[in-house]
């Protein structure tokens, strides 16, 4: 139900997560022939690898940073992922998109780095609710924050980053792959070797957890909004 004076009531559901729209990676691919680039690299022209990976640098770095939470480590993880992909390029058979294959290598590299950082101990302290428990969103009457404007504020960017980083790994992974990298439910399930039903459950819970954490924080950064009292 629209409220008077509300600046943002998006109704276009393709704005987030619709499999019907081109992802950012797909758009990057529309003018590229990656199969030809890969064949050229494997045929003895490694310099073309620079060109092949350029559209994905930001994606791989972002995935690494959301896992290791440290810029220097994230850069190292990203570099290792690109090197590993180069050395294993011959094993890429084109059964998936190159971007998906590359992201799966980055995911594994980031997971390995987490294990090296004694992640088991950290995760046990930061497990969050199990997949069977109940989780409720933050209650509010309306939302007056326009996302593109909110992100112009450094503190909001830090809030969002911290909220993602503080999700326990099983939830963070689905958010990264589905909502940040815009993979489909099926691609996300294949990459994590879990069922599509599990992806949906984890994604739902992760999204509600993010809403629950971020909505009250964004409330305090813009006090003119009307909020529903906590129950």
């Amino acid at each position: 139900m629209p409220l008077p004076g509300e600046p943002l009531r998006p109704i276009d559901h393709s704005a987030v997560g619709s499999g019907a729209i081109l992802t950012r990676m797909d758009v990057a691919l529309t003018t590229r022939n990656e199969a030809e680039m890969i064949a050229s690299i494997l045929g003895g022209d490694p310099e073309r690898y620079h060109e092949l990976i350029r559209p994905y640098e930001r994606h791989v770095y972002r995935m690494a940073l959301s896992f290791v939470k440290n810029e220097a480590d994230a850069e190292d993880v990203a570099q290792e992922a690109f090197l590993k992909a180069f050395h294993h390029l011959a094993s890429f058979r084109g059964q998936a998109k190159f971007s998906t294959w590359l992201i799966s290598i980055a995911l594994n590299e980031a997971r390995s780095r987490l294990r090296l950082q004694s992640a088991v101990r950290m995760e046990s302290l930061d497990e969050g609710p199990g997949e069977d428990g109940q989780i409720s969103p933050a209650l509010l009457r309306d939302w007056r924050e326009i996302p593109s404007q909110a992100l112009e504020r450094k503190e909001v960017r830090a809030m969002v980053r911290a909220a993602i980083e503080n999700l326990s790994p099983i939830y963070r992974e689905v958010v990264i792959l589905r909502d940040m990298e815009e993979l489909s439910i099926e691609e996300t399930a294949a990459m994590l070797t879990i069922s599509t039903a599990s992806v949906k459950v984890r994604l739902h819970r992760a999204r509600i957890m993010l809403q629950k954490v971020l909505a009250p924080q964004l409330k305090s950064s813009a006090p003119q909004r009307r909020w529903f009292p906590w129950s």
Binding site: A15, G17, R58, F82, L140
Partner: protein, 82 residues
Amino acid sequence: MVIECKHVWDHLSGYLDSSLPADTRALVQKHLEHCEICSAILDSTRNILILTADDRVFEFPVGFSERLHARLNEEFHRDTGK
């Protein structure tokens, strides 16, 4: 059939992904049309997804690309013995 708010919350993610069965989606839609709170929760969740997907959240470090490609060049030259 009418569903309560807490049941609508269980379907928010599926609603945003347009992956709900048609009958469930219709029930959720009908509830959202008259429930101010659930409608605001849906909007806030959708907008938070837009925030998380924005490239500005995880800033790209200056010089990352140059350092990456320099390291790749080292690797290429090592591999070819140049």
